[in-house]
Amino acid sequence: MTFDGEAVVKIRGLHKRFGALEVLKGVDMEVRQGEVVVIFGRSGSGKSTLLRCVNFLEDPTEGTIEVAGIQLEGGHRTKQQRDKIRKLRTHCGMVFQQFNLFPHMTVIGNVIEGPIRVKGVPEKDAHALGMELLSKVGLAEKAEEYPIRLSGGQQQRVAIARALAMEPDVMLFDEPTSALDPELIGEVLAAMRSLATELHMTMMVVTHEMGFAREVANRMCFFHEGVILEEGSPTDLFEHTREPETKKFLEAVL
């Protein structure tokens, strides 16, 4: 499958330094409409930082990020740029490793908070959309519960619905299953899979779930020491591995 459409995410010459430590050493990447990109690599290789730079949860030290036509440079921030960052963020749905649901709101409250408060969607419409998304992740009957009463897998599915409710152009998944008990991983991966296959959602996924990657990813990027060392289709990566580092890593996790 090829993706000829417009690139939703464009990353150019991205550097990120934390003090003396350079985590990203020049990353270029484009993600096209409907594409599922799996980013993997050792911990500390910079894969999460890359994802967090896309929606400016981390400020890039250098480089350009463009999401849905909104383009921003790294570096110092003016008021106008901060407003632009907020605008950009409404086009990115983010799913965190630790779910980060709002504990003081019900499940449906979590889902409709963004649309109502940030996008100004009327409450009735937001509620209808929220319930639709909750049924899509199989949790419509939990709408009035508080998050603490849900299992980790259920919480993460709510988090996915919350991100989707902003009707984003790209979904960013930051190790979405790493904090889950093994028996709960499946339900979250299934929800993500249906996002890709049914909604044709553009997705950037940082994960160690190689089974999911092989099945769902259109492209895989192996991160090593702050750069993309190797990328290609799952077949390329799994069966025709070029780099010895990639080979070593895949042998370790498979």
Binding site: T90, F102, P103, H104, G114
Partner: protein
């Protein structure tokens, strides 16, 4: 309690007296326990009678006779609670001795005490030689009832001491309403406005303390440092007398309107000083509360594209409030009491009203007691509402089944259903349940190795109902 009669088989070859013999050991122990408590009451009564007689100047027993009864009664109580056989007989002997005390002027009561003690001792006689009987009996009395008895005794003792010391109840009747109706509204007014001010100061102070703006940070640092670092009474004087003097100094200059502005009414000065002072303390509370909200929450809000204001208002503050409320409630309670300091600049609030009325008639003790009682009642009401608010804020933080755990655990009774082949152990001081009762628990293990425990504070736990499993 009737379950206590249930026979539980003793293990073969076990020569120790069984914890639960055929006899109702628990009930017998209860009589012994009550006898011990009557001795304690007798000691208290003797002491109070001594005080009353001395104060009334009555010709009565000499002080040493009363003192002897106090000492003997306490010894007797100790003997009963020692659970030894000789202790039992010693206590009985003391009861008889006090009953036949060969002294003049039977000022009364002690024969009745001795009679009750002897009857209770006789009823409990079958438990003699079973050291665990009293502890077992204690387990049948609910914790609340035991605390209630102690509190009732404290109340009775206080009332009798006050009466003996010529406490002027008619004076109280005459003046209480006057003091309260004139002073309480002002005290409440000062407290409520000052806490509202303090909350506003604290909110801005906390946000400033977390800000990266050096002006905001520096100002807030100066504010908290000064108002936490100086005595409240100095601040009150500074704001009332100090600022008023500035007002005098700038008179006739172009700054005069400003000088008039800072020349404050005493009530207003008190409110501002107390509000500023408590706001400084609460700044730290608010800051800690806001920072206790996980970083992930702010990130999740950011990721939705929320602005700083929206993130604070919708995500961070509502969660911080839950953490902030208990210490803020404490501050409010403390502030209500500190509002009494306003009297120093002539505000006629509750304390000053009581003070004036008491001084006029040389009834300071009565007057200050009225004032104390009103403050006490006020803080009690505040504590009640604080607890309710905390419960309400707790929604979203309670898993299914956790709610009310303490309550359900409390109302259970202690006695075991007969186990197939029980091993029974009593462990004094063993922790049990989540209640704050004194330690001690009975553990019953059946042959499948599953253990139930029965706290002597009336709690139980059963296999499959362990709190951990919820």
């Amino acid at each position: 309690m009737a379950d206590a009669t249930t026979a539980a088989p003793t293990r073969a070859g076990d020569s120790r007296p069984s914890l639960l013999p055929e006899d109702d050991l628990g009930r017998r122990g209860l009589f012994l326990m009550l006898a011990g408590w009557v001795f304690v009451l007798q000691a208290i009564h003797a002491g109070l009678r001594m005080l009353e007689d001395v104060m009334n100047g009555l010709p009565s027993w000499p002080v040493w006779a009363y003192s002897s009864i106090v000492v003997l009664s306490i010894i007797a109580a100790g003997l009963v609670f020692s659970s030894r056989s000789w202790g039992f007989y010693g206590a009985a002997a003391i009861a008889v001795l006090i009953a036949v005390w060969p002294l003049p002027a039977p000022t009364g009561g002690f024969v009745v005490f001795s009679g009750i003690e002897l009857v209770l001792l006789a009823l409990g006689m079958r438990a003699v030689g079973h050291p665990e009987a009293i502890q077992l009996a204690a387990a049948t009395v609910p914790w609340r009832a035991r605390v209630g008895v102690v509190q009732a005794v404290i109340a009775i003792v206080l009332v009798r001491v006050f009466l003996a010391l010529e406490f002027d109840i008619p004076w109280i009747r005459e003046h209480a309403w006057n003091i309260i109706s004139k002073g309480l509204p002002l005290t409440l007014l000062i407290s409520v406005i000052a806490i509202a001010l303090a909350i506003v100061f604290a909110l801005f102070g906390a946000l400033a303390r977390m800000s990266r703006n050096p002006v905001a940070y520096g100002l807030a640092g100066f504010y908290t440092s000064f108002f936490r670092g100086t005595p409240l009474i100095v601040q009150i004087f500074l704001i009332y007398f100090g600022l008023a003097e500035i007002g005098v100094r700038v008179r006739g200059t172009p700054l005069e309107p400003f000088g008039n502005l800072i020349t404050l009414e005493n009530t207003i000065a008190a409110i501002i000083a107390i509000g500023l002072n408590y706001g400084a303390y609460m700044t730290e509370i608010f800051r800690a509360g806001i920072q206790s909200v996980g970083h992930g929450q702010a990130e999740a809000a950011d990721a939705l594209g929320m602005s700083y204001g929206l993130r604070m208002r919708r995500i961070v503050l509502p969660q911080a409030v839950r953490v902030i409320i208990p210490p803020t409630g404490n501050e409010f309670i403390a502030m209500t009491k500190d509002s009494a300091l306003a009297f120093t600049i002539g505000v006629l609030e509750l304390f000053r009203r009581g003070d004036l009325a008491g001084r006029e008639d040389f009834r300071g003790f009565e007057a200050y007691l009225i004032v104390a009682a009103v403050y006490w009642a006020m803080t009690g009401v505040l504590t009640f509402f604080q607890a309710r608010l905390e419960r309400k804020m707790g929604r979203g933080y309670v898993r299914a089944g956790e709610a009310g755990t303490k309550r359900t655990a409390r109302k259970r009774t202690y006695l075991p259903t007969p186990a197939a082949q029980p091993g029974v152990t009593f462990v004094p001081g063993a922790g049990h349940g989540s209640g704050g009762g004194p330690g001690g628990a009975i553990f019953v293990t059946d042959d499948e190795g599953s253990t139930r425990s029965f706290g002597i504070d009336g709690t139980t736990s059963e296999p499959g109902r362990d709190e951990d499993e919820r």
